[in-house]
C-alpha cells in the first residue's frame, strides 16, 4: 500500500466523465416513441385481422343459416344445396372433437415422457440429437402424415383394432357392428392426428422442463428425492402450465387439421361412439372435401361450419388460459 494517496475527489474525477445534463427539453426519447408505435401497431393489426376474419365468417354464414330449414346446431345431415336446404354441424362437431380428443389422449403422455427423457434423463450426447429430431418432426407437412397414415398406418392398425374389438368389445368405445374393415376408422384418424401433434407438444414441454429453476431441483434432491421424485416434486409442478399450453397448441392443430383427416377417414355424417367403425367427419375435412362441389348456399354453409370451428378453437384457448390462471398464486415467484 502506498502512503501518498491522492484525495478521493481527484481519483473519482479521472474515473467518471462530467455528468450529462438531466433536462433535454423532452420527456420521452424519440427511440422509445418509435418503438412503442411500431409494437403497438403490430399488435393492433393482429387484433384487426382476427376481427375481420370473424366478421367475414359471420357475414357469409348468416344467409346460409337463415336458409337452413332444420336446426343448424343439432342436425347431422349435410344437404345445403338441396331443396329444402337441410344441414347442421352436429356430426362435424362430434367428429372433430372426438378425433382430437383421441389424439390428445394418445399424444400428451408420450410427448411429456419424451420431453422428460430429453430434458432430465438422457445423457447430454443423446439429448441434443433427440431434441433436434423432435423439432424436425414438427416441421413435416401434414399431407405427408396423411399419406403415411393412409398407406402405412391404416393397414398396420387392422390387427390391433381387431384385437381391441374382440377382447374389449363389451366397452362401448370399442364395440363394432358386423363386418367392420377396421380401415377408415375414427381411431385411425385419431392416431394420425396424435403423431402429428406429438412433436409440437413435446418440443414446447421440453423447453419448459429445461427452464425449471435449479434451486427447485436442488431443494428436492437435498431432501433425498430420487430422480422420479425430483420430477414429481419440482419439474412437473413447474411445468404444468407449460404442459397445458402445449396440449392446447396441439389440440388447436388437431381441431383444424384438414388433409390428413380427409385422406384417412371415410367421411359420413354420423354421430357414433364406435371409434373402430369407419365413418365420421370433421369441420376441416368436410370443408376441404365439399368445397369443390358446393353451390352458392353450400359455400356459405361451409363457411358457417368454419365459424363454428373458429368459436370452438377460441373457447378451447380461453378454457386453457383459465386452467393456467386458476393456480397462479402457487405458480412462481413470491407474491
Amino acid at each position: 500500500m502506498s502512503d501518498e494517496q491522492p484525495p478521493i475527489e481527484e481519483v473519482l474525477a479521472t474515473l467518471a466523465p462530467a455528468p450529462a445534463p438531466l433536462s433535454t427539453g423532452r420527456s420521452v426519447r424519440p427511440g422509445d416513441r418509435i418503438f412503442a408505435v411500431l409494437s403497438g401497431g403490430a399488435s393492433l393489426t393482429l387484433l384487426l385481422i382476427i376481427a375481420l376474419i370473424a366478421a367475414f365468417l359471420l357475414y357469409r354464414s348468416i344467409p346460409a343459416v337463415r336458409a337452413d330449414t332444420t336446426n343448424f346446431l343439432t342436425t347431422s345431415a349435410w344437404f345445403p344445396d338441396s331443396t329444402p336446404s337441410t344441414f347442421g354441424i352436429a356430426a362435424l362437431a362430434w367428429g372433430t372433437l372426438l378425433s382430437s380428443l383421441i389424439a390428445l389422449v394418445l399424444a400428451v403422455p408420450v410427448a411429456v415422457g419424451t420431453a422428460l427423457f430429453i430434458a432430465h434423463f438422457a445423457p447430454r450426447r443423446l439429448a441434443q440429437p433427440l431434441a433436434y429430431l423432435v423439432d424436425l418432426l414438427a416441421a413435416v407437412p401434414s399431407v405427408i402424415y396423411g399419406l403415411w397414415g393412409l398407406f402405412f398406418l391404416v393397414p398396420q392398425m387392422v390387427g390391433l383394432q381387431t384385437w381391441l374389438a374382440d377382447h374389449l368389445g363389451w366397452f362401448p368405445l370399442f364395440s363394432v357392428g358386423s363386418g367392420s374393415t377396421f380401415k377408415q376408422t375414427m381411431l385411425n384418424a385419431g392416431v394420425v392426428l396424435a403423431v402429428m401433434i406429438l412433436p409440437i407438444i413435446s418440443a414446447v414441454t421440453r423447453e419448459v422442463f429445461l427452464q425449471v429453476p435449479r434451486d427447485h431441483v436442488e431443494a428436492a434432491q437435498a431432501l433425498g428425492a430420487t430422480r422420479w421424485e425430483v420430477i414429481r416434486l419440482a419439474v412437473l409442478p413447474f411445468g404444468r402450465p407449460g404442459i397445458i399450453s402445449a396440449s392446447m397448441l396441439g389440440l388447436g392443430r388437431a381441431l383444424g387439421e384438414t388433409v390428413a383427416i380427409a385422406l384417412v377417414l371415410s367421411t359420413n355424417y354420423v354421430i357414433s361412439w364406435k371409434i373402430l367403425e369407419p365413418g365420421g367427419n370433421t369441420f376441416a375435412a368436410n370443408i376441404a372435401l365439399q368445397y369443390g362441389y358446393a353451390a352458392d348456399l353450400g359455400t356459405n354453409a361451409l363457411i358457417a361450419s368454419g365459424l363454428v370451428l373458429f368459436v370452438i378453437t377460441l373457447v378451447v384457448n380461453i378454457v386453457a388460459r383459465g386452467v393456467i390462471a386458476r393456480r397462479r398464486e402457487f405458480a412462481g415467484a413470491a407474491g
Binding site: 447430454r124 434451486d215 427447485h216 431441483v217 436442488e218 431443494a219 428436492a220 434432491q221 437435498a222 431432501l223 433425498g224 428425492a225 430420487t226 421424485e229 416434486l233 419440482a234 409442478p237 413447474f238 404444468r240 393456480r327 398464486e329 402457487f330 405458480a331 412462481g332 415467484a333 413470491a334 407474491g335
Partner: protein, 258 residues
C-alpha cells in the same frame, strides 16, 4: 440423531479443475461448525460434498473419505439418495416449492419416505414449524402458498422442511446472505436452539455470524486464481477469532487481506 462427520484428504474436482485439495477435519455431534473464507475458496463445495450434493453438478467429482459416524458415504454400495435423507441442507436462497402450500412444503420430505396417517403428518408439521420458530406466524394459513411468505419466513420454512425428516446433520450454505438483519437474527437464534439436537455445519461470509453461532470455525483460503482451495486451519471459534495459529487466518478475520 446427531452424528459426527470425519473428512480425510478430501479433494474436489470440476472436470479436470481441482477446486479444493486435501481437506481433513472432524465435526462433533451436536455442535455448530462454521466455514469461512473468501469467495471461491471452496467452502461451499466442501459443504456440498458432505451430503453428496456437489455431484449433481455435471462433471463434479471428489476423492478422499467422508465418514458419517464411521460409515463411508462415498462407498459404492451407498445410495446418495439415502445420504441426503440423513443429511439435510438449507440453501443460500430460500427455495420452498412454489407450487406447494406451507403445509405441503414441510411434509414434502416425509411424503418421500412413504405414506403416513394424516394425524401423524399434522403432528410432525407442527413440531417442525415450531422448531423453526415459524408456527405462530403461519398456523392460520398452512394451506397458503409457501412462496407468499417473506424471505426470512421462507428460509425458516426451508429449515422446517429440512428438519421434518429428522436428519442426522444439517448443512447450511450461507443461509442468511439473502436476508435482512432481523431475519438473520431469527435464524441465528434458531441455529442456537437446533444445536441441541442436530450436528450443524454452516458456510458464512459474515464473520460476526461465525463468531456468534459456531463452536468451531474452519478457515479456507486459496493461494491464487486457478489454484485449489485449502483448509488453512480449523479450531475452536474463540481461538480462531482471538489467537489463530496461522497468519493468513488472522489477516482475513482482521480485514487485512491479501
Amino acid at each position: 440423531m446427531a452424528k459426527s462427520i470425519d473428512v480425510s484428504d478430501l479433494s474436489i474436482y470440476y472436470g479436470k479443475f481441482c477446486a479444493v485439495q486435501g481437506v481433513s477435519l472432524t465435526i462433533e455431534p451436536r455442535s455448530v461448525t462454521a466455514f469461512i473464507g473468501p469467495s471461491g475458496c471452496g467452502k461451499s463445495s466442501v459443504l456440498r460434498t458432505l451430503n453428496r450434493m456437489h455431484e449433481v453438478v455435471p462433471g463434479a467429482w471428489s476423492s478422499g473419505k467422508v465418514l458419517l459416524d464411521g460409515e463411508d458415504i462415498y462407498s459404492p454400495s451407498v445410495d446418495p439418495v439415502n445420504v441426503r435423507r440423513a443429511i439435510g441442507m438449507v440453501f443460500q436462497k430460500p427455495n420452498p416449492f412454489p407450487t406447494m402450500s406451507i403445509y405441503d412444503n414441510v411434509a414434502a420430505g416425509l411424503k418421500l419416505q412413504g405414506r403416513r396417517p394424516r394425524r401423524e403428518l399434522d403432528e410432525i408439521v407442527e413440531r417442525s414449524l415450531r422448531a423453526a420458530n415459524l408456527w405462530e406466524e403461519v398456523k392460520d394459513r398452512l394451506e397458503r402458498p409457501g412462496a407468499g411468505l417473506s424471505g426470512g419466513q421462507q428460509q425458516r420454512l426451508c429449515i422446517a422442511r429440512a428438519i421434518a425428516v429428522e436428519p442426522e446433520v444439517l448443512l447450511m450454505d450461507e443461509p442468511c446472505s439473502a436476508l435482512d438483519p432481523i431475519s438473520t437474527l431469527a435464524i441465528e437464534d434458531l441455529i442456537e436452539q437446533l444445536k441441541e439436537h442436530y450436528t450443524i455445519v454452516i458456510v458464512t461470509h459474515n464473520m460476526q455470524q461465525a463468531a456468534r453461532v459456531s463452536d468451531r470455525t474452519g478457515f479456507f483460503n486459496l493461494a491464487g486464481v486457478g489454484q485449489p482451495g485449502r483448509l488453512i486451519e480449523i479450531d475452536n471459534t474463540q481461538r480462531i477469532f482471538s489467537n489463530p495459529a496461522e497468519k493468513a487466518t488472522e489477516d482475513y478475520i482482521s480485514g487485512r487481506f491479501g
